[in-house]
Amino acid sequence: MMPQLVTARWRRRDGRRRRLFLPVVPIVLLLSPLLVFTVIGGIVACLMYGLPPLRTLAGVGRLFGALPGARFEFEQGRTAVFVSVR
């Protein structure tokens, strides 16, 4: 399943907290023109290195689809970072 929401939270040294919610689908739609160029670039790179473009694209898609559930949390002193993919 495609990731729906990426949540990022961090706390700076001065103790201020920030939160960022990134809805993946709208962002992908917004960046879709750029994605077309990225995909074309990827296909050209695949052909240059003799890789099967469709299978490589499917592999990247599978990697992207496996992201939900991933979570990263780091805390050191007064600095903290939290990233979660749902």
């Binding site: 890789l51 990697l63 496996a66 559930g69 780091f74």
Partner: protein, 139 residues
Amino acid sequence: MNEQRRQILQMLAEGKITADEAERLLTAVETVEEPDAAPARGKARPKYLRLIVDANDEHSGETKVNIRVPLKLLRAGMRLAVFVPPQALERANQELVKQGVPIDLTEIKPNQLEDLVDALDDLTLDVDQTDTKVRIYCE
């Protein structure tokens, strides 16, 4: 052995395809097969690999790391590793030899990587030192 694998091996035996083509076809067949189709075990299979580090250093203070990686992500990454160009693997091999690690990455097959990820299900690693605790397990 299923019918598709048998056909691929038959074509290889008859010389219709090369060993490399056969390997690619077998990989493709395995990709199509559902990885979770293994016989159900008594307990539910773990979904995530968890890494927890709790360290207390005099210099940097208390440090906590908590990482949860879906096992599906590991499997997908391993499958993508199949597409690494052979010349890149050769270069990596040369660098590994330079560093004193004589591992031939070209000898590692996708099936072995899959088995490695499957075997992670039962992994539990605990490192307990006076000021550092590391725990790696599947949940």
